[in-house]
Amino acid sequence: MSDLLIEKGRVIDPASSTDHIADVLIREGRIVEIGHAIEVASRDTLRCIDATNCIVAPGLVDLAAEFREPGHESDETMASGSAAALAGGYTTVLCCSSTDPKMDSAASVQLVRQLADDVNGVRVHPIACLSKQRRGEQMAELGILAQAGAVAFSDSPRPMPSDALLKRALDYCRMFDLPIFDRPEVPGLAEGGVMHNGCVGLRLGLRGLPTEAEDLAVARDVRLAEATSGRLHIGPVSTMGAIDMIGRVKERGIQITASVCPHNLTGSDVDLCSFDSRFKVHPPLRSPRHVDAVRQALAAGVIDAVESGHMPRAWEKKSNDLDQAPFGAATLETTLSIMVTDLINPVELTWSRAIECLSTAPATIAGINGGRLQVGQPADVVVIDPSATWTVNADQFASQCRSSPADGRTLTGRATHTIVGGHVKFSRQP
């Protein structure tokens, strides 16, 4: 493997509070030197990337994306999902247990890892099922799943309906020191809901997903995390009530983490006035005051991380009426650009905080190596052109999913190179 030199970029590593112009030298899959005008003995076997005016950051880490293989290949395959992740600047993705067979056995976890190895693209870490068959009744064999390579447990995007099971699992999981992810929603309050329960939903006559369905679940989650001292990650959150509770328990020193999806930082329920199913996403697009609160909570650190919320669904499923169309959208390829366009450029978020939300914090939450741009670390790196302007066209996504709430938007900032373990797995010509 030839050496790789990323030259003259603005190197940002939130973990070490680094933010300066430097070169990054990669050798045998690891970062071996970060410094000014690195001298290399021989340039013959060297590949150079000119990162002038670009950001050089640890590769992005996604906390929860659905790669629908095996079982739902019409939505997404490991190959298309991996390509979408790399195009979006991600070097690591935690993939959800919503495959078929569901990831509730060692064999199914190993199968997903094998599929990922075969594709050899983005790093994939399985999130195994928390409950057997994702039914929310009995605990899955968490120890065996951990041995098979699961890094977290969750039935997400399905919420955990049973308080007792969640409490038991949080308690039990402490012996593996692995996190449980819960998508907070009380199913009984959200049944049949299609969109945020607000004035817009009232006008449109669409069934609502009330904020209290999320708030109550968060209230339960934080209490159970406190009671068990288990590792709990709550996400994605989208309501003022959820943020308020998470902020207060964090102040009391309770160890919980939370994440948000990009569409809850930028869109609002008004988008549903078009009755277009590409806006039927989870969590639902909330009213503007919730969006404002979520943005502030992200800047303040009450919310730790941004997850893509990538829930790809085949076009034939999405191109239906709003009751029939499933929740979901392709988001891996737009998340970074939305962060730049809607949060960094308006100066609500610094670049360092944005990279922390997209890379450092997710890696820490998942307890995996990554999210750091430091000497000795595996060379998972993203090069970002912060001024690249592009118009989203979902038909051109690497993802198989053609549905995106950002479709048609003109965004700024985009990954130009995605490097996984020293290999340039993705590059985009300007």
Binding site: C199, L202, R203, L204, G205, F275, N320, D321, D323, Q324
Partner: protein, 355 residues
């Protein structure tokens, strides 16, 4: 006056909308244009009874995914009164059960060469989806709890005929120089009952509001969101509190089929609190109008003596339903002619004029 034989001879005002999907996005003037056209066609057809040929050669497809008797027959009759052919598709969700999507079903029907798709569906927004996917006029005959624009129009037409026509002073709604947003000024209309699940309520709300009426939504809090106040409507939970102020009561049916939860303890209790009965009639204004979109649940929202009494205009609403549907078909066809004219070499307009 000779009866008009073509759309051109009807001398319709210019109309920009090929589709009629809701009232919320129409201007007061546009709503009044629809109502005036309905009035005009009602008179030309001798009270919706005689036939014209202004839409001869065109075909109206009724695509109903939910049960309906009156609305579907009303649209069919309206089309036939104007000389159009009709074709009926009532899938009741069966095509979805067979795996065909709603849009595919509609495209199949479009391919048979129809000019309008009149659609009813349990999901809000389906007419909007069809209007994007199809190249024919789409008329919403009810999309879940969202809107039912022709129902709103026929309710308002009935009010105009009964109340505004009888006013001694003030501008006539038939006069084209009248300010549309003031036509119902001074009128208080209460929609009573299941506001949450009612498309009739939403179409009435926007239509009445745009024409200047004061609108009250009344029912149990589980069916009447306080957010309606944010949208400019009065919210009331007790019918008896507002009864004396109302010029019109529109008694909505309890939509048992749409309620996933039980929003009130029993039908018995609902009737006790909200049914319009003889005792309540005595406390109402002496000239109150009683409307109901039907089908009515006698003994639930309305007692038989009121439904069949002198203040009830329920059957006139049914007649006016044909009038507003004739207007909807004519105006959308008129917009279609204009649209095709603008998007082709003008041959559509020439053919229309020659026919």
């Amino acid at each position: 006056m000779d009866a008009p034989k073509t759309l051109h001879e009807l001398s319709l005002p210019s109309w920009p909308h090929r589709h009629l999907v809701d009232l919320e996005h129409l201007s007061p003037q546009e709503i009044l244009t629809l109502l005036r056209t309905a009035d005009q066609l009602k008179q030309l057809t001798g009270g919706c009874r005689e036939k014209l040929s202004i839409l001869a050669g065109r075909t109206c497809a009724n695509l109903f995914f939910e049960n309906s008797t009156r609305t579907r027959n009303s649209f069919s009759l309206a089309a036939k009164r104007l000389g159009a052919d009709t074709v009926e598709f009532s899938s009741g969700g069966s095509s979805v059960a067979k795996g065909e999507t709603f849009v595919d079903t509609a495209k199949t029907i479009q391919a048979m060469g129809v000019d309008w798709v009149v659609t009813r569906h349990q999901t809000p927004g389906t007419p909007h989806l069809l209007s994007r996917e199809l190249d024919v006029c789409v008329i919403n005959a009810g999309d879940g709890p969202h809107e039912h624009p022709t129902q709103g129009l026929l309710d308002i037409l009935t009010i105009l005929e009964h109340r505004v026509d009888c006013r001694d002073q003030g501008p006539s709604w038939r006069d084209t120089s009248t300010d549309a947003s003031q036509v119902l000024r001074g009128m208080t209309v209460a929609l009573v009952g299941d506001i949450a699940h009612s498309r009739t309520a939403r179409s009435n709300l926007w239509g009445l509001h745009k024409l200047g009426a004061h609108v009250i939504v009344c029912g149990p809090p589980t069916l009447v969101s306080p957010r309606w106040e944010e949208l400019g409507f009065e919210v009331a939970y007790r019918l008896d509190d507002i009864l004396g102020r109302c010029d019109v009561l529109n008694l909505l049916r309890i939509q048992f089929e749409r309620q996933s939860t039980r929003p009130f303890p029993s039908v018995h209790e609902y009737a006790a609190l909200y049914a319009m009965n003889g005792a309540r009639m005595k406390r109402a204004k002496s000239d109150i109008l009683i409307q109901a979109p039907g089908p009515i649940n006698r003994g639930v929202e309305i007692t038989p003596d009121v439904a069949d009494g002198p203040h009830s205009v329920i059957l006139e609403q049914v007649t006016n339903g044909i009038a507003v549907r004739m207007a909807a078909l004519s105006l959308t066809a008129w917009a279609d002619v204009t649209f095709r004219d603008a998007n082709s070499d003008g041959s559509a307009a020439v053919m229309e004029a020659a026919s």
